[in-house]
């Protein structure tokens, strides 16, 4: 097989199974929306299962996001097969480890969201994350503040995860443009900067 054909074949079998994780109110669905826009623009198929209802009140929330160029059957990602766990909270990133594949990446924010009395020692949580063969642990909150607003932290996280998602980076940038368009040029640019800073961190630390 020629190199070109091989590349074509690899490109043809695009699949990213992503677990998004966080705490109710942290807005993990904004990440899903940006990714969804990017995937749609790339002509890819999507299925995405969300958590609504009871668990939104400060409880653990997650979303199964599946992107592929082939038809997707299940709305849920099978155990041990996720390509990526993308978590905006460190302890929550560990809750979904049974979904992570042998070659999967865990990308998590390291700022804890403490709303329970028995939240574990953060060092113990980080130690568990470091045990994994492939992970990115990033201080998304600090980077977000540097670019202008702590609310951009989810876009830092998306940026940090982007090297491990099989979608062209420019398409993800366009996804962000689409969802923040209404809020004006400044907000768009800030979120794009957050995205790029997250990506740069991951590239340096992978």
């Amino acid at each position: 097989m020629t190199k070109l054909n091989l590349e074509l074949l690899i490109k043809l079998n695009m699949k990213s199974d992503i677990i998004l994780a966080g705490v109710g109110g942290q807005g993990i669905l904004s990440i899903a929306t940006a990714l969804g826009e990017a995937a749609l623009a790339d002509g890819l198929l999507i299925k995405q299962a969300e958590t609504h209802g009871m668990s939104q009140r400060g409880g653990a929330v997650y979303s199964h996001m599946r992107i592929s160029d082939q038809p997707i059957s299940s709305d849920l990602i099978p155990g041990g097969s996720a390509d990526l766990i993308l978590s905006v909270e460190p302890m929550e990133s560990l809750r979904y480890l049974p979904y992570l594949s042998e070659t999967g990446y865990l990308v998590t924010n390291i700022t804890p969201f403490v709303n329970i009395p028995n939240y574990p020692d953060i060092e113990l949580v980080l130690a568990e994350i470091r045990k994994l063969p492939r992970f990115i642990a990033i201080d998304a909150d600090s980077i977000a503040k540097e670019v202008g607003s702590s609310r951009a932290s989810n876009m830092v996280m998306l940026g940090a995860a982007s090297p491990f998602i099989d979608i062209e980076f420019s398409k993800i940038e366009n996804g962000i443009r689409t969802i923040f368009e209404r809020k004006g040029e400044a907000v768009v640019n800030m979120n794009l900067e957050a995205l790029r800073r997250g990506r740069a961190f991951a590239e340096e630390n992978r």
Binding site: V23, G24, G36, L40, L45, I46, K47, Q48, A49, E50, T51, H52, G53, M54, S55, Q56, R57, G58, G59, A60, H64, Q70, P71, I72, S73, S74, D75, L76, I77, P78, G79, G80, S81, A82, M91, E92, L94, R95, L97, P98, Y99, L100, S101, E102, N115, I116, N118, Y119, P120, D121, L124, V125, E128, L132
Partner: protein, 531 residues
């Protein structure tokens, strides 16, 4: 063709609008709520002035939809599974009266009880009422079924049930929409006595319903939603219902399933397809979300036919929702199990928001109850149910909507005095008023706390139908106005609240205390929308 990325619930809302629906009637309940919310926000719904306001409960919702059908127009009623318990009287009898305009009951089950008291399977209600049931396996089917379900209802002359489960409701996928149909014109039922279920007419209508079963079966057998998929390996035949079909196909991409499969998304069960599977295969595996309804009926009492595997013989768990892993196990497939959850991971249960008025009410109640033995507060369903957990641990029951008042009355009848009911404003409007009337008529020694956050918050902050009416309802039902008190649940009013609670707990009769402060989530989203 444009593809929309729709949640299952949104696909149903869009399908219903495109199917020429003139009214949606619903009471909120996870995972069904967003169907109505989607329609409420839809420009075409506004343009057509489709009815889309919330009803007081599921029974009033379904009956109103039936009334719209009587007048010839297409209507949908939406609810969660336990909501159908409330609407069951209307639903089962609507199968007897039949419909004029197309009528769809969309009911959303919650296996694994993500946000519910139980995981009852609504297909039993559909079978009980003897009407066709649709159960989509994809968001596209959910759209198509909602759009075409009205015509199916008009053809079969009965309400049609559209049954979904949590994962179908709250999962997004691409949906292609079809042409928007016109609404029906106003028309009277062809048979003017059709809706009068006097025994003589009811007996005739019941025979008609029984005779219609052949048609329903034929429609199922010919339905595009049901099909037989060939397979080489006949050691096993698989029946896959609704969304379970996807979990199965996850393991056999691009049509590589070696076993024959009957995909089912319309009931009654398509007999011919299943008989063929039974004839061709050595064993059957039944995959269905919810209770083993199909499995039970195929297995039979003596289980002396083809061996049937599923939830009843332990091949699959008897309870909880299905997923691809459980089905892989049932098929004997090996897969990487992922990494274990480390022990440091603590549970993160949902909790009342910081600053929520229910918190202030509970703190004051606990103080006022300190002199009594524990276990006197009966509660209901809403955000305030979280008062069962630490640090409050105030309430001792949560059964079904409205049961706080009636259970408190029963306990008081038994001698547990005082007994206290804790109920929200929406739940009071839904099912609390009739119980209050019972208590007033018997001068029961109960105190009813209606914690009024002016919103249906548990389900995301919908409008409460009791807004601004609670005091007048209580007075109208006959509560002595001297024993109805309203207070703002804030820390600065704590002493006053404790005093009120103490006084009314000691009063031998019905009293009502209304802590009233808007839900902070609702207040902030209201402010966001005003901007």
């Amino acid at each position: 063709m444009q593809k929309h990325l729709f949640l299952g619930v949104e696909a149903i809302g869009q399908g219903a609008i495109d199917g020429g629906m003139s009214g949606v009637y619903a009471y909120p309940g996870t995972p069904s709520t967003e169907i109505t919310e989607f329609i409420q926000d839809h420009p075409l719904a506004e343009e057509r002035n489709i009815h889309r306001k919330w009803s007081a409960n599921e029974k009033t919702a379904f009956e109103t939809a039936l009334g719209m059908s009587y007048a010839g127009k297409r209507a949908m009623s939406c609810m969660k599974h336990v909501g159908l318990n409330v609407a069951a009287d209307a639903f089962v009898n609507a199968a007897m009266t039949g419909v004029n305009g197309g009528l769809i009951l969309t009911v959303a089950d919650d296996p694994s009880m993500h946000s519910s008291q139980n995981e009852q399977d609504s297909r039993f209600y559909g079978k009980f009422a003897m009407v066709p049931i649709l159960e989509p396996s994809s968001q596209q089917e959910a759209y198509d079924m909602a759009r075409e379900g009205f015509a199916l209802s008009e053809l079969t002359k009965v309400p049609v049930m559209l049954r979904i489960t949590t994962r179908m409701a709250h999962s997004r996928a691409g949906v292609v929409c079809s042409e928007v149909l016109d609404e029906n014109k106003l028309s009277m039922p062809a048979d003017p006595r059709q809706f009068i279920l006097l025994p003589a007419i009811a007996r005739r209508k019941y025979k008609e319903l029984l005779q219609s079963q052949d048609l329903f079966l034929k429609l199922s057998e010919e339905s595009k939603y049901n099909r037989y998929e060939e397979g080489e390996d006949t050691s096993l035949g698989i029946v896959a219902c609704g969304i379970a079909y996807n979990y199965l196909m996850e393991h056999y991409p691009n049509g590589t399933c070696p076993f024959p499969v009957v995909k089912i998304s319309q009931y009654p069960l398509p007999e011919k397809l299943i008989k063929r599977l039974n004839h061709e295969c050595d064993e059957l595996l039944i995959l269905e979300e919810g209770a083993p309804m199909v499995e039970e009926s195929l297995k039979g009492f003596f289980a002396n036919g083809t061996p049937v595997k599923g939830r009843l013989d332990g091949t699959l768990p008897r309870d909880g929702e299905l997923n691809p892993d459980l089905i892989a196990k049932a098929l004997g497939k090996e897969f990487f199990k992922g990494y274990e959850i480390p022990e440091v991971v603590a549970n993160r249960p949902p909790a009342l928001c910081q600053g929520c008025g229910h918190q202030d009410a509970y703190v004051a109640m606990n103080e006022a109850l300190a002199d009594y033995t524990k276990g006197r507060v009966f509660s209901d369903i809403g955000c305030y149910t979280l008062g069962a957990l630490p640090p409050y641990e105030t309430i001792y029951s949560c059964v079904d909507m409205g049961a706080s008042i009636t259970m408190a009355k029963g306990a008081a009848d038994a001698g547990l005095i005082p007994a206290v009911a804790m109920i929200g404003d929406s739940t009071f409007a839904h099912s609390g008023i009739t119980g209050l009337l019972d208590a007033v008529n018997e001068k029961s020694s109960i105190t009813i706390v209606i914690s009024d956050n002016e919103s249906v918050s548990m389900t995301g902050g919908q409008d409460s139908s009791a807004l601004g009416k609670i005091e007048s309802i209580c007075i109208g039902v006959g509560v002595d106005p001297a024993h109805i008190h309203t207070i703002v649940p804030l820390r600065k009013n704590h002493e006053e609240m404790v005093r009120l609670f103490r006084e009314e707990f000691a009063y031998e009769g019905v009293s009502v205390i209304i802590p009233r402060r808007e839900c902070i989530q609702r207040a902030s989203s209201r402010k966001r929308n005003q901007k």
